[in-house]
């Protein structure tokens, strides 16, 4: 068990280092941030002075070694634009993204599970087929298009819901959240739905497959032989069995929701990490871009690592394999 965990940890560290190299050189290739930071009519002396201040005048490998050295001390540089440490900056934007992701996850479960169970129950009927066809749209419609369509319908035409920003926020446990205010919830509804659509289709398909599998089990037949209603069989007997794989997948998907809410946040001007990333790319704010990507990698590593550990706890067979490895 310990060997298994240590090995996973070593792999994670390797991934992190590889990512640092890719990210640093990747970002280094795109343009010169000084061009954007300084007014176009600045004198060459001013430009040189700025270059020297940010260390851009030095060779790439020196810059890289410096970057690594600082990174190992938890310092990923200061934002050129905001002047704050990049990591702190990103973290201050994080609550907005987190609450959006959690809300999106909630929506995808609330939409996907009932639809999927029903589709599995009526697998051979038109209802089941209709839901499955619908889920293909959920998979294939681009996020930004769905977002804009929702804005068009609910914000522009019907004028029911706001289309931009977070609305009113309230401080909970030191985090500024809008999930606890009515106005904030209204603001969150459309972006969360947009974010949820793809996952909802995924959950629908998972739930349908699980339901079909569960319905032919003896325990369902036995439940019927007890005279239970179909509703109770689906909601209690089937649902409880299919939630295990669904929760597993959703745990992994939460990571991708946090990391890739970029498009949705941009469409709805949601001031989260994704919006910050796009803004930083536009201003070539290197430290922020690098920090964001590093943070994303860490989020994924942590989630995968946690899931692995949970698996070894849940499934004795995995645990035995891990122990002998």
């Amino acid at each position: 068990m310990l060997v298994f965990l240590l090995r996973r940890l070593a792999q994670s560290v390797f991934v992190l280092i590889a990512m640092m190299i890719v990210v640093f050189f990747g970002v280094y290739m795109i343009g010169n941030p000084v061009d954007i930071l300084i007014s176009p009519d600045a004198t060459p002396a001013e430009i040189d002075e700025t270059m020297a201040r940010f260390g851009f005048d030095q060779p790439v490998y020196i810059q890289f070694l410096k970057f690594i050295g600082n990174a190992l001390q938890g310092d990923l540089g200061r934002s050129f634009v905001h002047g704050e440490p990049a990591v702190q900056l990103i973290l201050s934007y994080m609550p907005a993204t987190l609450e959006l992701a959690v809300m999106g996850l909630l929506f995808s479960v609330l939409i996907g599970v009932p639809l999927g169970v029903y589709a599995g129950y009526k697998a051979d009927r038109w209802q089941g087929r209709a839901i499955m066809t619908g889920s293909i749209f959920g998979f294939s419609l681009p996020n930004f298009w769905v977002g804009m369509l929702l804005i068009l319908i609910f914000a522009v035409e019907l004028q029911w819901l706001p289309s931009t920003g977070r609305g009113e926020t309230v401080e909970v446990l030191g985090l500024r959240l809008s999930i606890f205010t009515a106005d904030g919830l209204q603001h969150m509804l459309l972006p969360a739905l947009t974010l949820a659509l793809y996952k909802a289709s995924l959950v629908t398909r998972l739930a349908r497959a699980g339901t079909q599998e569960a319905l032919v089990q003896d325990y369902v037949k036995f439940a019927r032989a007890k005279g239970l209603s179909e509703t109770r069989i689906l909601v209690v007997h089937v649902l409880k069995n299919i939630m295990i794989p669904i929760i597993t997948v959703l745990g992994l998907e939460l990571g991708s929701m946090i990391a890739f809410a970029v498009v949705t946040e941009t469409v709805f001007a949601w001031p989260g990490m994704g919006k910050l990333l796009i803004d930083s790319i536009l201003t070539l704010d290197r430290p922020v871009i690098v920090s964001y990507l590093m943070l994303t990698v860490i989020i994924f590593i942590v989630i995968n690592f946690t899931v692995d550990v949970i698996y070894t706890l849940l499934d004795p067979r995995v645990r035995v394999k891990g122990g002998t490895a």
Binding site: V216, Y219, K221, G227
Partner: protein, 326 residues
């Protein structure tokens, strides 16, 4: 009045390979508190008969003919809702594999209480009380605590006891037991057999005991019906069928039980395999494996003949009762 009266039941499966007549004209009646042993090989249609009674045949199977009268009421006429009201309440069922019949993620308590409350408006506490009593009745130690457990915390035998307790919860008039002891150890098997027999006698519950093992029903059943390829080929009082079987298939089954024949003698076995249900032979389905086949057997299927009080037989060449098991 009889508890159950099955008349010419036909349950067919509509598969891609053709229509499988899993149950093809099965008739029997069951009196108050009577125990019927339904015996046959795998695929003989005995389980499908059981599921047909509860109207739980899975597609592509369908009851296509005949009647099932439960206390004079034709079950096919009932709405789904009314049928659900009977299931687990008046007619209960016990399944073959106790490892699969209990829901792995629900506590025993949940699974028992819901069975009570599906049929009666009682408080959860009252339902729980009844569950405790039912568990105690089937011999589960400290039932109060075991109610909190999940199925995987029970052994196979204990799980089957729980399933039996669930079947008994609402004091049904009829229990259909589909090979409930097949998956269990022999020692547990005999324990459970004895207990079920006692419980059925105590409560006056009629019982259909489906099995492939004649030895199991020998001590349990009042009457035996032997099924082959979707039909009952021989039926009658247990003693009569066991001591003087009329059908060569029944003889074969008896001859293959160890300890039945004389010591030192070879066990006989029925030659050949259970027939392919999609391609049954023209005449008697047992003809290809029968030691007494004649041309008549290959051309026409035998009808049911009465050969004694309560004894029916489907055979052109029955062994004579005087000859015994020879």
């Amino acid at each position: 009045m009889s508890v159950l009266d099955v008349r010419d039941l036909q349950t067919h499966f509509f598969t891609d390979a053709g229509v499988v007549k899993a149950v093809d004209g099965v008739s029997f009646t069951l009196g108050e508190g009577e125990v019927l042993g339904l015996v046959g090989e795998s695929g003989s249609g005995k389980s499908v008969t059981g599921f047909s009674i509860l109207r739980l045949v899975d597609p592509p199977g369908r009851v296509v003919g005949g009647q099932i009268l439960f206390r004079g009421q034709d079950l096919a006429q009932l709405s789904d809702r009314e049928m659900r009201g009977l299931r687990g309440n008046r007619i209960a069922m016990i399944f073959q594999d106790p490892m699969m019949t209990l829901n792995p993620v629900l506590r025993i308590e949940t699974q028992m209480v819901e069975a009570v409350r599906a049929h009666e408006r009682v408080s959860a506490a009252a339902a729980r009380d009844r569950a405790v009593k039912a568990l105690a009745k089937v011999g589960i130690p400290s039932p109060e605590e075991r109610l909190e457990a999940y199925p995987h915390q029970f052994s196979g035998g204990m799980r089957q006891r729980v399933a039996i307790a669930i079947a008994l919860l609402n004091g049904p008039d009829l229990i259909v037991a589909d090979e409930p002891t097949t998956a269990l150890d022999v020692t547990i098997q005999s324990q459970i057999l004895a207990e079920v027999q006692e419980l059925a006698r105590e409560t006056g519950t009629a019982l259909i005991w489906i099995t492939h093992d004649l030895a199991v029903v020998a001590g349990l059943a009042d009457r035996i019906s032997v099924m082959y390829a979707g039909r009952i080929v021989e039926s009658g009082p247990t003693d009569a069928v066991l001591t003087a079987p009329g059908h060569p298939y029944t003889e074969g089954l008896l001859g293959s039980i160890p300890g039945h024949g004389r010591r030192g003698e070879r066990l006989t076995q029925i030659p050949g395999m259970a027939p392919d249900m999609t391609r049954l032979p023209e005449g008697c389905a047992f003809a290809p494996r029968c030691p007494r086949t004649s041309d008549t057997c290959r051309i026409t299927a035998p009808g049911i003949t009465e050969i004694g009080p309560g004894r029916g037989l489907r055979c052109h060449h029955p062994s004579l009762a005087e000859e015994g098991t020879a």
